[in-house]
Symmetry: C2
Subunit: 387 residues, 2 copies
């Protein structure tokens, strides 16, 4: 368990005085450009071949302009290819809410730093769950915004059709302040009209996790005029997951292939294996996965009209132990993906809300809404904290 | 281009006074145990999980007992999985005979150290060409002994059915002195009765390489009473190569799998990819490859009765440039394997002899003999140097 900050890096950029985030500090995942510092991407061979950026990433600049002060760059899983937060080169950031357990990734250091109180908020990225999972494991508010909503200039890509920039906070009020800035939209007072409880997602979660989320869910039911239970993925979460686990790695391979072939970079075995398998994906699988994605988009559009939100467990279980062997990790990753794949597939906004624990370890409740209804989710998180 | 020695390691063990190798210095590839020093295997995550050995490897002890002094441990390709000598963690040892070009691997540092005159001889290992290739690229004498002849205690395994321990020297006299000790057999005066020139191997080599070896081959023809031209692999060198490139990686995966699954170690992408592909080899391919191996063994037994030697280019070309991109490396490795696969398949002894160059870069001539006739090859190398 190491510091959440990128080893050997010291960053400090004062926010503009007097903005809405004045007095807040933030850290940025090492996939975001910070002028004058190499964007390391969690891999020494990625860092080495990269020029030092001369401009801040859009999200970093937006927070600075709003008055927040940048105080650190944080550890990420290698080139964002990981979901547990164990980086073989830079270490595993502490999960202060569950010591000895992983923080979740790939925005591991960003979640760890906020959870430890080392900064007020932090930037992460979420392609396949990289904000949602560490938010759940570390007991934080975290958002994966609507795909395509934020300007991703200066953020290292992985799989552009699924990539998003997100952020973390310990309390709903800070989360809302930061969200208003990055969503460029005021967080009003309205709450949702309807709540859908995703029975398949709760059914897939460990029983202890589903049970632990019930009090939070009960408060949510009281907050929203109507609620009903419904299956989220009639085709099967396993079908959605398989499709996303086909599409995303192939896109990541397209992103990284020129670098990999030129530099033969070092990776943890499990990361390299993912790229190798992606490079061997048959066209027929890709074609099938693209059809499933279209089907999933249709399903979520139908399920989530404006004013409706959906509730599900963010992860099927709390943070697993750190340092497990690869075959165990493979099973854990696959199970996590079952509850995350819809994000990359359909691009709806999702907020993970803390407040429950299993055996003392945090577990998040996730809310989804219509594309573009990010602010409604933040608003609901605020209302739920006060309820 | 870095030092051939393992970074951060300092080793010195005096040889026993008065032995046949008194006055000689040697280095050992970092796959050989040296008491009191971690056997690093060219990979930081291998080094980390290994206990410090309390005994020297058999070959190290044999050289010390014969009076040679151990002065260094040398860089190897990661866990011996490489043929070019580029180690992403420890660097690429200098090839003093062809600066800017690779030294060959995986016994890269052992060859480089001898070629630079930093020691008189050195220990390497050869599973798929790891002594023969750097001997050819660096312009050294190098031997892959008969498989099973040397005691491999204390040598890190890769693919045991192909693994051997070999050695390098700059001149035939030193090579013969060291060989007598490690083969535990005097190097007498006799030369071979018959020479077979492998037309398929010369045909596969670059024309400039085949041509550069002709003067050496002519001297060899004058040394041996009879010679004839013949195809070495009637099934095709490509068939033998395919079989060995199936068998050896699968065996290496069996060797390393427990470690890889437990520790998820870091590798250069190309190394990890080899293990991933090996893990996916169908049983039917393995079965076919085992039949080809049996056929190759029969062929070489027939071609190389006692007293007969076979001549072929050690490598199809001299050392390629260092730092080439992965697709280029893949093609180069495949071509090298065409002239190396017989070693791991059939286990006959092979000596690579320097003395030719292409565009100023060394290229070796290889001699094979019957299993157990290692000394005959050393003897021939001596006679050829004097011819």
């Amino acid at each position: 368990m190491t510091s959440p900050f990128v080893p050997g890096t010291s960053v400090h950029v004062e926010g503009r005085p007097g903005g809405p985030l004045a007095g807040l500090t933030f850290a940025a995942k090492d996939l975001f450009d910070v002028a004058g510092h190499v964007t390391g991407g969690g891999n020494p061979d990625w860092a080495r071949q990269n020029p030092v950026p001369s401009r801040h990433a859009w999200a970093v600049q937006a927070l600075l302009d709003a008055g927040a002060t940048l105080t650190a760059k944080t550890i990420t899983d290698e080139v964002s290819l990981g979901i547990l937060g164990e980086n073989a080169f830079e270490g595993t950031p502490l999960n202060p809410a569950a010591p000895g357990h992983v923080p979740g990734g790939s925005s591991s250091g960003s979640a760890s730093a906020v959870a430890q109180g080392l900064c007020d908020t932090s930037l992460g990225t979420d392609t396949g769950g990289s904000v949602r999972v560490p938010a759940s494991f570390c007991g934080l508010y975290g958002i994966r915004p609507t795909h395509g909503r934020l300007d991703l200039t200066g953020m290292m890509p992985q799989a552009p059709s699924s990539d998003t920039a997100g952020w973390f906070a310990r309390d709903a009020a800070t989360f809302a302040r930061v969200s208003a800035v990055l969503l460029q939209e005021a967080i009003g007072p309205a709450v949702p009209d309807r709540l859908v409880i995703a029975t398949d997602a709760f059914g897939f979660a460990d029983p202890a996790t589903a049970e632990a989320l019930e009090p939070l869910l009960d408060r949510l039911k009281r907050l929203v005029p109507e609620w009903r239970e419904e299956v989220m993925a009639p085709q099967g979460l396993s079908t959605w997951s398989r499709a996303q686990r086909t599409l995303q790695p192939v896109e990541a391979w397209q992103t990284f292939r020129p670098w990999v072939e030129r530099d033969n970079p070092r990776f943890a075995f499990g990361v390299a294996r993912g790229l190798v398998l992606a490079s061997m994906t048959p066209e027929s699988e890709l074609g099938w996965a693209a059809l499933v994605r279209r089907e999933a988009r249709g399903r979520l559009r139908h399920l989530l009209p404006p004013g409706t939100i959906l509730a599900m467990p963010t992860t099927p279980f709390p943070a697993p132990k750190a340092g497990l062997p690869l075959p165990d990790l493979d099973g854990i990753r696959a199970a996590i993906n079952m509850l995350c794949a819809h994000g990359g597939l359909a691009g709806h906004p999702q907020v993970s809300i803390p407040g429950a624990t299993v055996d003392g370890r945090p577990i998040g409740l996730s809310l989804l809404a219509a594309r573009g209804a990010d602010a409604l989710l933040v608003r609901t998180a605020l209302a739920l904290e006060k309820s």
